[in-house]
């Protein structure tokens, strides 16, 4: 490969951001005003930054605290343990469980049925903890189970308590995973949209909501761009420090599993699993209770012609299905190409893309769609791809870049066609990963809310998340629970498939 080609291949990952960058720049060229931008340097902006930082820091901290018990429990009881498996199942929540369903659950809990805490910092933080703590549990537990056996055993010999071992031995060794988990959870909370929109109030607004409000009320693109820049900068700085933490060199397989029963950690784990599953199942319980109480078949109602004239449920399910399938397919293909040309700088660019404001991106794509008359389907496809490639990248990274090099080199001697090599050598090995990635991206996009909600102003292309939100915001409770039940079953089915393929992959690897 010559030098130019090498340089180009290094820049390839940045190309995936090109449509988004063009859309933002094009919109900025039309609406950006330096006066509004400089007017951002005031106490209001500081208030928004402070408020965003407070709610996201508090949420991240609580996510960590709540995850300690389950992390210890999973790391001690990782094999064939019912509670460990139940906790592991919660990992689907942050990525696949639709945000609208979360909003519905917390609205039920906080609007007076159980507690009166709606529109408070407490409700926001609780919703974030529910939604994002499984990330913390996943990352920390997975790294703890890999701590070298000898280190753990010598600590046990010193008769340290389990919490003491966790604090003095495990924690320093899992700091890399911790910082990664911290970054992801913090990013999710920092850029939260649906939860703040529904459960917050003006007082608990964040940067993402401010971007949305600036664009939505005054079409103040300059302020939105300013807020977007701040958001991106904060997350880029945190990402930078998170990626600089020590390398987990001591982490290898074979952490000893134990069958000892610790009341404290079991109690916290049961509590944690109960909390997560209560929230997930609440709309389902309400659906059955409502159907029974009102003696009305709400499932039939939401698919009726009459209801669909006001709320296009069927059309939105079809739109979401088609868009999610197409996006997932394209994302899997593009991510594979990007990973084949993997470089450190490319990785940095792609992971930084997590900090891009979805609201800003959405409104920019909307503007481009209007001005150039591009079909909303295509624009939404581009938007969803931009948003999900970073997640897809991290999921496929290890499998694609870690592919047996000697096998590829041997294949190179047989054929020069990369297509032939892919189909005969790589595909038979990595196809489960590709399917897994497809399902992951499908589920993420099916439940995506922020981009769809902002882009969909005027209901030009209803998706299941936006239609669900419209029904929920009208407080059509029976219909809300019915659609939510349908979506939950659909997502759980996909998650079941993901879980099944993942376990097959693990079994295959251990063999």
């Amino acid at each position: 490969m010559n030098r130019t080609a090498l340089k180009f291949s290094r820049l390839l990952p940045a190309l995936y951001l090109l449509p988004a960058a063009c859309a933002v720049l094009f919109t900025a060229a039309e609406f950006f005003e330096i006066d509004s931008f400089s007017a951002l340097l005031n106490s209001d902006t500081l208030f928004i930054i402070r408020s965003t930082l407070i709610q996201s820091s508090l949420s991240t901290l609580l996510c960590f605290m709540i995850s300690i018990g389950p992390v210890i429990f999973i790391s001690r009881n990782r094999q064939d343990n019912f509670l460990s498996n139940i906790i592991r199942i919660t990992f689907f929540i942050p990525y696949y469980y639709p945000v609208v369903s979360t909003i519905i659950s917390f609205s039920i809990i906080f609007s007076g049925y159980f507690l009166k805490f709606q529109y408070s910092l407490f409700s926001i933080v609780t919703a974030h903890v529910f939604y994002n703590s499984p990330v913390m549990v996943k990352y920390l537990s997975e790294s703890i189970v890999k701590i070298k056996r000898e280190i753990h055993e010598s600590a046990v010999l010193e008769t340290r308590s389990y919490f003491s071992i966790f604090r003095h031995i495990s924690m320093p060794l899992i700091i890399k995973s911790f910082s990664r988990a911290f970054f992801i959870v913090f990013s999710f909370c920092f850029t939260s949209f649906g939860v703040i929109l529904a459960l917050g109030n003006i007082r608990y607004s964040n940067l993402e909501i401010s971007i949305f409000t600036s664009l939505n009320t005054n079409l103040d693109f300059s302020s939105a761009l300013g807020y977007g820049f701040i958001q991106f900068a904060v997350l880029a700085i945190i990402n930078f420090f998170a990626s600089r933490t020590g390398s987990p060199e001591l982490l290898i397989e074979n952490y000893p599993s134990s069958n000892t029963w610790n009341l404290k950690e079991t109690f916290f784990s049961v509590l944690y699993a109960a909390f997560e599953f209560l929230i997930v199942s609440l709309p389902l319980i309400c659906f059955f209770a409502f159907t029974h109480e009102k003696k009305t078949n709400y499932m039939k109602i939401i698919f009726s012609e009459k209801f669909n004239t006001d709320f296009p449920v069927i059309r939105s399910i079809m739109n979401s299905f088609v868009l999610s399938s197409l996006s997932a397919l394209s994302v899997t293909f593009i991510t594979y190409i990007l990973l084949k040309k993997n470089s450190k700088s490319g990785e940095m660019i792609i992971t930084s893309a997590i900090g891009i404001s979805t609201a800003l991106l959405s409104i920019s794509f909307l503007y481009v769609s209007i001005i150039f008359g591009i079909n909303p389907y295509l624009i939404m496809l581009a938007g969803f791809m931009t948003l999900s490639i970073p997640y897809s990248y991290s999921l496929m990274h290890q499998h694609v870049t870690g592919f047996n090099r000697s096998m590829l080199e041997a294949a190179l001697l047989e054929t020069k066609s990369s297509l032939k090599r892919f189909f005969s050598i790589e595909l038979p090995v990595i196809y489960p990963v590709l399917i897994l990635n497809f399902l992951n991206v499908f589920a993420i996009i099916y439940g995506e809310f922020t981009f769809a909600y902002i882009f969909n102003s005027g209901n030009s292309l209803p998706l299941v998340s936006t239609t669900g939100y419209s029904i929920a915001s009208r407080r059509l409770l029976g219909e809300t629970y019915a659609l939510n039940t349908f979506n939950s079953f659909f997502i759980i089915m996909i998650f079941g498939l993901i879980f099944f393929i993942s376990s097959k992959l693990k079994t295959g690897r251990s063999k």
Binding site: D44, Q118, N216, I371, I374, S457, G458, R474
Partner: protein, 331 residues
């Protein structure tokens, strides 16, 4: 050659998919609460004028203006329904609406309702703002703003940045308290449970029992009687000093179907359209059509408060910023 064919095909798909037959199609931008026009009125207009009408509904009226500013370079809409005087200021400033004096303008019974003498906007309904409440949740009926101040988290309002009802409620308090409006809101913010993005969302929250009061319209007593056959919800005008909200319709500048747009405005002032307003929009019609009996349950203010359009134009942005600041610092 293969690549060029693919690119050409892609371009055809990109442009072709978006090309819609816009001839003889009237595109109306409105907000959700006005969706009732689709039931009979739109069909009737389509039959009379041999055209198609496309109704695009936004969540709240401010989104209509934002979208029209967005589409300034490539107009899609012909008509914007639900424009209030304060929104018109923004619309005129951004040059997104065109003037049109309807031939039916003389049908408007009270000429003071014509809030734009240049006819960039034609009024089609009006109504007094009020506070509605659930009588079952009160021992003593609230009557004034002072009564509301005594109750924490008791009222749902609309966000004036996104809702015309919310904007007019803010104007109402400014008209009542003058320079002291900020002091009033500092106290009042404690009584506010939430500021919903629009009237529909706030009414859903109110119906769901999240708060016992909500900023709405004086006709809500009539609504309650018509729909629940009882005074399930009652309305009161604090201190009996009301504020009138007027809603209008505008033709979008460079509308693709200007002629049809003009016909639509004439249609909105016709008896056929106006008589549908009371029981669907729950506002008063601007022409002299007869009101349904149930309107005797609508409350009327003893005194009307108002703000001069020039004062609104000069201060609106400043007021909104102050309001946001007060609400953010709610204790």
């Amino acid at each position: 050659m293969k690549k060029i064919t693919i690119i050409l095909l892609l371009c055809t798909v990109l442009t072709g998919l978006s090309a819609e037959n816009q001839q003889n199609e009237l595109t109306i931008y409105t907000y959700d609460s006005l969706s009732w026009i689709e039931k009979n009125l739109v069909k009737s207009f389509e039959q009379t004028n041999h055209c198609r009408v496309k109704v695009v509904k936004f969540e709240n009226s401010s989104k209509i203006i934002s979208r029209l500013i967005f589409e300034k370079r490539k107009n899609v809409a012909d008509i914007a329904v639900g424009i209030t005087p304060s929104m018109l200021i923004k619309a005129k400033k951004n040059k997104i609406v065109a003037d049109y004096k309807s031939g039916n303008i003389s049908a408007i019974k009270d000429k003071s309702l014509i809030f734009d003498r240049e006819f960039y906007c034609t009024p089609f309904d009006f109504g007094a703002l009020a506070v509605i409440y659930d009588p079952a949740k009160f021992k003593k009926t609230p009557e004034s703003f002072d009564d509301i101040l005594k109750m924490e988290n008791s009222i749902i309002i609309q966000d004036p940045r996104t809702s015309s009802t919310g904007t007019d409620f803010l104007f109402w308090t400014i008209a009542k308290y003058g320079d002291g409006w900020e002091n009033f809101w500092e106290k009042f913010s404690r009584s506010v449970l939430t500021a919903a993005p629009g009237w529909t969302e706030s009414f859903s929250k109110f119906e769901n029992g999240e708060a016992p009061m909500m900023v709405s319209y004086a006709t809500d007593g009539a609504y309650s009687m018509e729909n629940y056959k009882s005074s399930k919800y009652k309305a009161f005008i604090p201190d009996n000093e009301g504020f009138i909200q007027i809603e209008g319709v505008s033709i979008v500048k460079n509308a693709p179907n200007r002629k049809l747009a003009e016909k639509w405005i004439d249609f909105m002032l016709s008896d056929q359209f106006q008589k549908e307003i009371p029981l669907n929009q729950w506002m008063f019609p601007v022409t002299s059509v007869a009101l349904p009996d149930v309107y005797k349950y609508a409350v009327t203010p003893q005194k009307i408060l108002s703000l001069d359009a020039s004062v609104i134009e000069k201060n609106q942005e400043k007021w909104l910023k102050s309001w946001v600041k007060i609400m953010k610092n709610k204790k």
